[in-house]
C-alpha cells in the first residue's frame, strides 16, 4: 500500500488499493461500509481510517504488532470463513485508538478490525477470548528524553 500524502484526502484522490470494505460496518456504525486507510510517516504508528460516506469522520487506528505485546485475539471459525482467511498471515489487524484530552491514548483490544489483505474486506470481530482482552489498553507514552 502506498503511503498517502497528508492532504491527499482533501483532494479525494483515494487510491483503490486503500479502500477497505466492511460489509457489516463497525459496531454502532453498521450503515457505513466503505472506508479508506491512510498513513503518513510523521504519524507513525497511527493510521487514519476514514469513512467514505461524504463526511470527514473516521478513526485513528494502529496495527498492534510491536505496540501491544502478546496480543493474540482468537478469531472464530465463522469470522475466518466470513473474511475468507486461509492463513493467519492473510489478515491485517487494526485496533481503534481513543485519544484522551490530555494526550494519553488507549486502544480497544476487544473489537479488532480484521481485514483480508487480498480482498480488503474486513469486519470488526469479537474474538472468542474477548474476556481476556482490554477495552481501553493504554499505549505507553514515550519516556521523556533525559
Amino acid at each position: 500500500m502506498k503511503t498517502a500524502e497528508a492532504n491527499e484526502l482533501e483532494t479525494l484522490t483515494v487510491n483503490k488499493e486503500n479502500i477497505i470494505s466492511l460489509p457489516l460496518g463497525l459496531l454502532g456504525f453498521e450503515n457505513v461500509k466503505r472506508y479508506v486507510l491512510l498513513s503518513n510517516p510523521e504519524e507513525k504508528p497511527f493510521l487514519w481510517l476514514q469513512m467514505l460516506d461524504g463526511s470527514n469522520q473516521g478513526f485513528v487506528v494502529i496495527s498492534p504488532e510491536g505496540l501491544v505485546p502478546d496480543y493474540a485475539p482468537d478469531i472464530s471459525e465463522q469470522d475466518v470463513a466470513f473474511l475468507g482467511l486461509k492463513d493467519p498471515a492473510d489478515a491485517i489487524i487494526l485496533n481503534i485508538v481513543t485519544l484522551g484530552r490530555d494526550g494519553e491514548a488507549t486502544v480497544n483490544l476487544k473489537g479488532p478490525i480484521v481485514i483480508n489483505r487480498f480482498t480488503l474486506v474486513g469486519k470488526q470481530v469479537i474474538p472468542t477470548n474477548v474476556q481476556h482482552l482490554a477495552l481501553r489498553h493504554p499505549l505507553s507514552p514515550l519516556p521523556v528524553a533525559a
Binding site: 497528508a6 504519524e43 477495552l135
Partner: protein
C-alpha cells in the same frame, strides 16, 4: 416483547433464516445455539454495547494533525521497528 416458551432442543425460527435452539439449561444459565447467515452478526449484548460505545467515543470528526497525536513507544522518532499494515 414476544415471549415464547420452549423446551430443551426446541427451536425458534426468525424470518425463515435464523434458528435459535435451546441447547441446555443449568440453574440460571440457558445455553442457546444460533444459526444465522454470515451477514447477520450475533453478539452478546453487553459486549456489543461496550465496543459500540468505545467506537462512538473514538470517532474523530476529521483527521487529527500529526502534532496532535501522542508520542508513544514504537511511534515516529523511535527506532523500534514496527510494521504497520501495508
Amino acid at each position: 416483547m414476544l415471549v415464547l416458551s420452549r423446551k430443551v432442543n426446541e427451536n425458534i425460527v426468525i424470518d425463515g433464516r435464523i434458528i435459535v435452539k435451546v441447547v441446555r439449561t443449568e440453574g440460571n444459565f440457558v445455553k442457546l445455539g444460533i444459526e444465522a447467515p454470515p451477514n447477520v452478526p450475533v453478539h452478546r449484548q453487553e459486549i456489543y454495547d461496550e465496543i459500540q460505545r468505545n467506537n462512538q467515543s473514538a470517532l474523530a470528526p476529521s483527521r487529527p494533525a500529526a502534532g496532535h497525536l501522542p508520542g508513544i513507544k514504537g511511534g515516529a522518532g523511535e527506532s523500534t521497528p514496527t510494521s504497520p499494515a501495508s
